[in-house]
Structures are given as C-alpha cells and as structure tokens.
C-alpha cells in the first residue's frame, strides 16, 4: 500500500520523467519543488491523460520503434510505433513485456559490493560514489602499472552512440579489449554474406514482396533477426497484394512456428540442409535455369551433389528436390534464406553459403524487390568467440572485466565452464539490472537503467533497405537507484581525468547523445529530406517521431559470384556430430525460445505464462519428441526423461509433438536459471549444459546443434503444464481453410 507521502513522491518524480522528453535539464534533477506536484501543475501532465514517448525496444537486437504510454509518471503500456519502418506499429510478446523489465521486483536496487566468497551471493549495499571510486581506483592502478590492456569490456551487441562512447573510453584508456558476446548471433551469416555478396553485414530480406520463400531453418516469425518486421512482411506477402499470394517452403528437422505457417514442410535430416541446398543448386544449373556463361564451371563444382545422391543422405525424395528447384527457378522473384538452425551446425558458414548461392543461380535475386537487398557496409562487429575470451582469462590476461547486458555463464555451452575461468580474473564488475548467473560472480555490481529509463539510439542492422536510426529516450524516471551505462563511463572518465577529459568532455550521456546528433545534423542539414532549419527543431522532431529514416528506392546492385572463389566454402558433406550413432541415437536441436530468447526473458512473468506457440507449455522446460517414436520407447507425455550427451545431462518432461523427426529431439533454450529473480530461478533445465565446446572455426560462433544424445525414462518427479487440451478438431470445423486453387479462382 502506498501512503499519502509515498504517493506524492512517486507522482512528483513522475512529472519530471514526463517532461524529460523535451527538457534535458529535467533529467538529473530530483527537484524538491516537485514534491508538491499538482499545486502548481506541470504543463504536460493531466491526471488520467496519457503521454506517449517514442523510443526503441531493446528486448532483442531488431531495433523496433516503440511508443510508451506514460500516465502520471508511470509506464503503462508499450506499443509499436506506427510510423516506424521496422515495427510498423506491431510488437511481439517480448516487446510488450518490456514493462516487466522496468518494474521487475528482481531488479538490483542499489550498487553492491561483494563481501563473502565469490559466487555465494553475499553483497553489501554501497553508494554510487563508493562504487565508482572503487572502479576508478582500480582502473587508475591498472593503468599506472602499464597493464591497461588488461581491462576487458564485454557487452551485448549494441549499436549507436553508446557503442561509440564505450569505444572512445577504451581507446583513451589504452585497451583494445572491447568485445560483444551473444549466444544467438549472426556472425556466421555475416561471414557467409561476405563470401557470397561481398558485404559483411545482414542484408534486407525482402519477404514482403517475394513470391516464393525457401527458408532453411529460419524461424523468422519468432526469433530470427527481426521477427516483427518479418511478420509484417509475411502478412503482406500472403494477403497484402490482391490476386497474388506468396508461397513458403520450410526446410527443418523440427517444425517451428514459421514451419507451421509454411505451405510445405521438408523434414530434412539434421546436418544435411547445406547438401540439400547444393542439390537444388545442381538441379537449377543442370536444368538450364541458370543462364550464366560459367554454367559449365558451376556444373563441375556441383557434380557431386546430384538430387539422386543427396536424396539418400537428406532423406528428402529426389522428385521433391527437383520439384523445389524448378519451382524456385520459375517463380519470380524467389528468395532463399538460411536461419539459426542451419547456422548452428559446426559447418554453419558452409551451409549458409550453399543457401546463399541459390539466390544467385535462380536468376540473381540479389538487389531486386522480393529478393535480397544488400545493406550498406557497416563497421566490423566486435563479436568475440567465447573460447578466445576464456583463453585470455585462463592465461591471466584479464585484470579487470566489465560486463554489460550479457550473461556468458548462462549462455555458453556447459563444457566451456565459464564459471571456473572467471575465477582467474581479479576484478569483475557487472553493469546489470538483474542478478543473473554472471552478475552473481562479480565483485562490484553497478545497476543500470533499463531501456525505458535511459537515453540512447540504435542503428538498425539489417534495416529495411534504407538506413533507420531510432532514438531511445527516458519514458519514466529511474525506478531504483540506478544509473545510465553511458553515465557510468562518463563519470569514470571524469574520475580518471587527463586524456579522458578531452575525449569525453560531456556531463552526462543525454548531453553526449544530443551533441552527437547535432554533429550529424550539421553534416547533413543541406539534404533535402531535412526540412528543419534549426537543430532544436530537428531534435524535437527526432524525439517525437522516434528516430530518423529516409525512404529510398530499394533497387540495389547486382552481384557476380565466381565459382572458384566460392567452392572452398561449400559444405563437403553432412555436418559432424559429437556422440556416436550407437550410444547416442538422437540428434539434439536447441532453439532460442520465442519468449525467453537466450534466457533473458525468463524473469518476466507475462512471458512465463504465455503458452508456447507450438506446444502450449508454460512455466518450464520441455523436450519435444515424435509421438510414434516415444510410444515405441514406452514414453508418455509428461514423463520426465534424462537427456544425456557425452558432456552432460539434464532432466525434463516430454511433450509429444508430431512436427518432430523420429530421430531428433528438440529443447527450447531459456529456462534453467540458477539465479535470475524469483520468476526464473530453479525452473526447468538449461539444455546448453549438454553441449560441447564447439564452434564454427571460421567465426567462433557456438554450434548448438552439433551434439547427439540418448534419452532414458526416469521416475523423477516433474511437471508439464500445458494449456491446450485436445489438438484435433473432431469435425467441428474450427480453423476453416480453402485451397490455394480455390482462393485464386474466387479472388479472380
């Protein structure tokens, strides 16, 4: 219960938050005058009437524009920004649940210092001044000892001016060790795109305008790259063009949500997707659909991969491969994409290259509407393979590790044993809003704002064919005693003085952001798209619109792919798996769950209680298994089974799912947190514990689909809570359908 004084306090602070969008000066002022708020009512607050602030969602890397509904200083609802080119007004469940990130009871409320043994979770509350002094003292000593390169900074992949600030800080400090890590990353895809299209970035896949989408394990409707934008594109492709309805073919061992929406599901044998792509490529060239002069060369390069031979390996019928190849070549425009599932084998890059060339061979779908529209070049990502980070840790190279928004203890394969390696680091500082597994191991915790309390910006990759910049502004004042991550580094720079003062002279991150955008404005103000005559006007429009983008024609340049250059990168055979076929009969497919992603969403109760799209399970981990296979093994739904790989074992209940190959089991990633607030802790199992320390050698991205497992029925207690009952319609005609032919005729 709020007492009257608390009520006044909350309302008072809220009024400052509401004004923050327009008056920077309000940001850092817990103004005592505002403790009697409605005596002199703030200009822009009317009780009961909402203010909406445009910002950007940070629940995944897609960079959707959002608007936050704020009433009396409290955030009430997040919606998609209707004019934003990425989200187009829509927002996924994770984006909606951003409010529970802000108001999560599990947030760290004050800076903390470790007092007990590391990992015991004994911390003492300290002030910000103390916390920042401890850190700056450590940094000063480190630099004075000439070990500046021992400062490591590990963040999630961030973009925009925060990244620039962190880079400037590290440069000024004299450390080159600024890295980004995330389990679900697109390094393999960037690498493959560089090989095939000569661009080390994620292109815009124009699903919206394509007529045939051939997707190899890309679950683009839930987690892959930019799900909200792709969902919009999917809806448009299906029903947004009168008389024209695009078709989707999904190739994957486990029927994902995207697969369920596709017209055809190709249940390929795990690890052979790349070969299937090559067989389709062979048929495209052999069947004369590829018209290039180097046709002979291509044929020679692909001759090992005839549909007849590949059919045996992939368990996809020869006629079906030929059929797909013909349809893919004849339909214009067509588009082939390779997703998380295929890039997570140990030969992920090769698979993606094989899939990429289909777009080239079937009539150069690159640079055209409905195909692949290459992005402008972006700066190289600062992704670090977790193995090199661990090597540095074990060699004692890391003196001080600063972590921001990343949880490697949870999101790396069990065999990496990050926890043990972190013991070699003298000082671990975590800038985090939540007490996750990695933060618990740190010595100093400086709690950060969530994205609804902070300034920032986001330069979206892959964007939508033209550059999109989205501004993040504080929708509410900080709920707890936290700081903006930008402010922390600016404060550190002030404490360290010297060269930092010259490099980072700003008072706070908001001012830095505004100054940076002023530079952008001054550089580009002569562009005809910028109509604002002063920067103030430009900045205000930026904040009210939510960002800046310029719609451009999407036509791009054509590419030429040389056979000789590409051949070394093509898959040589099926992906290899850890665990031999006899002892470990099941392939293991791990997928980022649509609600929890890599585990970060597990502490949000709305997402825990949102039934899984395919199985309707809530509040736990489950193991998806083919019903017939389970019956032959005497396993019923809800039975707890032991899943064992050569590297570890986990226990979870079985969920029978017909969209599963008999030789494969699938487990969603995201549950099994040891520490992450009361909604996530001790719930389900973390399937990453089953994985070996295996990466794609070319990029260092974790191969989380390269393991085989065996399963044993146990009598362990466990619970499968499923929301759906019977999944048969029993003649009730609930989801009615018409065939594509009927649809064409009737739409006429």
């Amino acid at each position: 219960m709020l007492n009257r004084r608390d009520f006044l306090r909350v309302v008072g602070i809220g009024s400052a938050g509401a004004a923050a969008g327009f008056a920077l000066a309000e940001l850092n002022a817990p103004n005592p005058a505002r403790l009697i708020p409605y005596l002199i009512p703030p200009e822009d607050i009317i009780p009961g009437v909402a203010n909406w602030y445009a910002s950007v969602c940070r629940q995944c890397g897609a960079g959707c524009g959002i608007v936050v509904k704020v009433m009396e200083g409290r955030a009430k609802k997040i919606e998609g920004n209707p004019i934003h080119p990425i989200s187009k007004g829509g927002l996924c469940a994770r984006g909606q649940a951003g409010l529970q990130v802000l108001y999560n009871p599990g947030r760290i409320k004050n800076p903390l210092r470790r007092i007990g043994e590391r990992g015991k979770g004994e911390f003492q509350e300290i002030t910000w001044e103390e916390g920042l002094t401890i850190l700056s003292k450590n940094l000063k000593e480190l630099r004075d000892r000439g070990e500046g390169d021992g400062l490591y900074l590990l963040t999630s992949p961030i973009s925009g001016h925060l990244k620039l600030l962190l880079k400037n800080f590290m440069n000024a400090y004299g450390s080159s060790k600024y890295f980004a890590y995330e389990l679900i990353n697109y390094e393999n895809l960037r690498f493959a795109n560089n090989i095939t299209f000569g661009q080390n970035s994620l292109p815009h896949y124009d699903i919206e305008n394509t007529n045939l989408l051939l997707s190899f394990g890309a679950d683009f409707l839930t987690t892959w790259i930019s799900p909200v934008n792709y969902s919009y594109a999917y809806g448009h492709m299906r029903q947004g063009r009168p008389g024209l309805r695009g078709k989707v073919i999904q190739v994957e061992p486990r029927l994902s949500l995207t697969g369920a929406n596709a017209d055809e599901w190709v249940a390929v044998k795990p690890g052979t997707e790349g070969l299937l792509a090559l067989a389709i490529a062979y048929e495209i060239v052999e069947g004369g659909y590829y018209k290039g002069e180097d046709r002979g060369k291509w044929l020679a390069a692909l001759e090992r991969f005839t549909p007849r031979d590949v059919a045996k390996v992939t368990e996809v019928a020869e006629e079906r491969i030929i059929g797909i190849a013909r349809e893919f070549s004849k339909t214009k425009p067509s588009l082939a994409i390779g997703g998380e599932n295929v890039s997570s084998y140990e030969n992920g890059v090769s698979n993606l290259v094989a899939i990429n060339i289909l777009n080239y061979l079937a009539g150069n779908n690159i640079g055209i509407s409905g195909g692949i529209i290459p992005n402008r070049d972006i700066e190289k990502s600062s992704f670090i393979p977790v193995n090199s980070l661990m090597q540095d840790a074990s060699k004692g190279k890391i003196k001080t590790l600063i972590l921001y928004d990343t949880n490697p203890v949870f999101t790396t394969p069990g065999a990496v044993k990050v926890e043990g390696q972190l013991k070699n680091i003298p000082l671990i500082v975590s800038l985090s809003s939540f007490m996750d597994e990695t933060t618990l191991l740190s010595d100093l915790i400086l709690p950060t704002h969530t994205y609804l309390e902070d300034w920032g910006d986001n330069f979206t990759e892959p964007s939508v064919g033209y550059p999109v910049a989205t501004i993040m502004q504080p929708a509410v004042n900080p709920v707890f005693n936290t700081k903006s991550v930008g402010d922390i580094f600016i404060h550190l720079a002030r404490n360290l003085a010297g060269v930092f003062q010259k490099e980072i002279p700003w008072t706070d991150f908001g001012a830095y952001l505004q100054a940076s955008w002023k530079m952008v404005y001054n550089k580009h103000k002569d562009m005809k798209e910028i109509r604002e005559t002063t920067f103030e006007e430009f900045w205000n429009n930026l904040l009210s619109k939510g960002g800046w983008w310029k719609e451009e024609s999407q036509a791009g340049k054509k590419v030429y792919i040389s056979v000789n250059k590409i051949t070394p990168y093509l898959p040589k055979g099926p992906a290899s798996f850890d665990g031999d076929d006899k002892d470990y009969p099941f392939y293991l497919t791990l997928y980022p769950h649509s609600s929890y992603m890599d585990g970060r969403g597990a502490n949000l109760p709305w997402l825990q209680e949102l039934p899984d799209a395919m199985t309707s399970v809530v509040w736990g981990t489950w193991i998806e298994m083919n019903p017939e296979r389970a019956t032959t093994m005497g396993i019923k739904e809800g039975d707890v089974i032991e899943v064992e790989s050569p590297f570890g074992k986990i226990y979870a209940p079985v969920c029978l799912y017909a969209g599963q190959r008999p030789d494969t089991i699938s487990i969603p990633i995201g549950q099994g947190h040891k520490f992450y607030g009361k909604y996530a802790e001790g719930r389900g199992a973390n399937p990453l514990d089953l994985l070996p320390f295996k990466v794609d050698e070319r990029t260092g991205a974790v191969s989380h689909n390269s393991t085989k497992v065996k399963i044993t029925k146990t009598n362990s207690p466990g619970r499968l809570v499923k929301m759906a009952g019977w999944t048969k319609e029993l003649g009730r005609d609930i989801v009615q359908t018409i065939t594509p032919e009927e649809f064409q005729v009737k739409e006429g």
Binding site: N261, S594, E609, L610, R732, E742
Partner: protein
C-alpha cells in the same frame, strides 16, 4: 418485485426486437485473417498488459485457472511427416444472441447498445453459469484475489492500467473489446461533435499484431475496414437473423464465423486460411 421483473423483461424484449440495432450508432466487430495470423502470441501478452490480467503462476495454470482473456488455439492434423498445424486466436465473440446473457441470474452480463457483450463485475456473484453456457470457452473466473496473492508484486503494480479495474475473487471476467478505448474514442468524438472514425478505436490485441491479422471497427459503417474485409452487403443486419450463415451473404469467399451452427451470432468474423490439401469441410 414482480412489477420490476416485468418491466425489465419488457425492456429486454424491445431491445431484442429485429432492427433494434439500427437505432444505435455503432456495431463493434473484429475480423481475423487466419492467412495472416502466425500464432505468435503477441496479442495475448498485449491483452494481459492492457487489461490488468494477473499472472496466476505455475500451480494455478496447471489447474486450468489462467486468466488470459484470449488464447491461441492450435490444431494438429496428420502424422509425421505430413503434419499441418493450424492456429486460431479465440476471444469473446460478443455474440448477438449470446448464450451467456440469458444464463446470468443477476444480469451481470448483458448486451449494450454498441453490440458489445458486457460484464458488470459489481453484479457478478460467481455462479459460473455464463462460462458453462459459453460455446467458445472465453470466460475466466477469479478463484482468488490475485492482487493479494502477489501477482502484482511491487513495483509490478506501477504498471497497472488505471482505465481498467483490477478484479477480485469470485468474479467472472472476459474480453471487453477494450471497452475503455472505445469509451475514450466516443468521448473524444462527442466533444468534437462527430462519429468515431474508422480505425480510431484499436484494441490492444489488434494494435500489437505484427502481421496485421486483426482488424477492428464498426459493422454499421459500410465503408469501414471490417465491413469491407467481411464482404458484407450495405445492410448487414440479417447477419443477426437466425440461421443465416456468413458464407451465404458475404462477398468474401474466405469469411466464416466460429461454430456458426450454434446460432449464437458471433460478431468475430474469421477469414479462412489458404492451405494446400485441406478443404473447408471433411478434415479430422
């Protein structure tokens, strides 16, 4: 007492006369395009955020006591490898001849002048009859005062929408078509002396849908987005007459209503999914 009941029945009869709806300005309805719907569940969370629906936890979920006002149903056809999974979002259909309305002994649920099936929480005594009568299984019962059970543990309660009540134990609840948004739009329109514009009211689920599968609007307005998608004739009122199937009157070959044979005259209009190897009738 008898006089009161007679008067009430008399009024109920008048308002149930054929054509009564012509006297009202709006007839709110929703169109769900199943060919656009991906089953992602964004709408479910959006609804929960807008309508202060508590999270009930694993234990209560296991007992089937989740309070989500809408759900995605999934139907699995066929065996591996010829498996088809179909999704359908189901919410209160605001039936014109709602079975729940005749069931309630205390008139806690009734039909309002905008064609909405409304639930009055203050009247509800929790007999559960409406939920038993509802063919779409969309009514949800508060077994507890979840606020006291820690469902909105501080500071999660800061998020609660002030425009929507937080319900307590013993009360039946369900989708309202985000009536708070409808009322706000109507107030605004009244201030400006006009009718609510098409697209001015957007319920939370419709707003969040990434693939734009949901459309909300006024069926009384022949030019509204819902009327066009539903393919209804200019005078769509006989949609409410008994026995008329949507397929007979709609110009959209894909339009149908859920469990139409039950004759509850739901105002949610679904557009059939386009799907190979499946036909309108005769599957599992």
């Amino acid at each position: 007492m008898a006089g009161f009941l007679d008067r009430l029945l008399e009024r109920f009869k008048i308002y149930r006369e054929p054509g009564y709806y012509k006297r009202y300005d709006y007839w709110w309805a929703m169109v769900v395009d199943l060919d656009r719907c991906t089953g992602c569940g964004a709408c479910v969370t959006a609804c929960q955020a807008e309508n202060n629906t508590p999270v009930v936890g694993e234990e209560e979920s296991g007992k089937g006591r989740v309070l989500n006002w809408m759900r995605i149903e999934r139907y699995v056809e066929g065996e591996y490898p010829d498996v088809k999974v179909k999704f359908i979002p189901v919410f209160c259909a605001h039936c014109d001849k709602a079975p729940c309305e005749v069931a309630c002994p205390v008139y806690a649920t009734y039909h309002n002048q905008d064609g909405l099936n409304v639930q009055v929480y203050n009247r509800c005594v929790g007999t559960f009859t409406c939920a038993t009568y509802c063919p779409y299984d969309v009514r949800r019962f508060n077994w507890f005062t979840y606020k006291d059970k820690g469902s909105f543990e501080s500071p999660l309660d800061e998020q609660l929408n002030p425009d929507v009540t937080v319900r307590t134990m013993g009360v039946m609840e369900k989708c309202t078509f985000c009536i708070q948004r409808i009322v706000a739009a109507k107030d605004r329109a009244k201030d400006e002396n006009r009718k609510v514009r098409d697209g001015e009211v957007i319920p939370a689920c419709v707003q969040s849908c990434p693939s734009k599968a949901l459309t909300f609007g006024d069926l009384n307005d022949p030019n509204s987005q819902v009327s066009k998608l539903a393919g209804l004739p200019a005078e769509p009122y006989y949609l409410r007459e008994s026995g008329s199937k949507l397929a007979k009157i709609s110009k959209n070959p894909r339009a149908y209503r859920l469990l139409e044979d039950l004759n509850a005259a739901p105002t949610i209009i679904y557009l059939k999914r386009v799907m190979k190897g499946s036909s309108t009738i005769g599957h599992e």
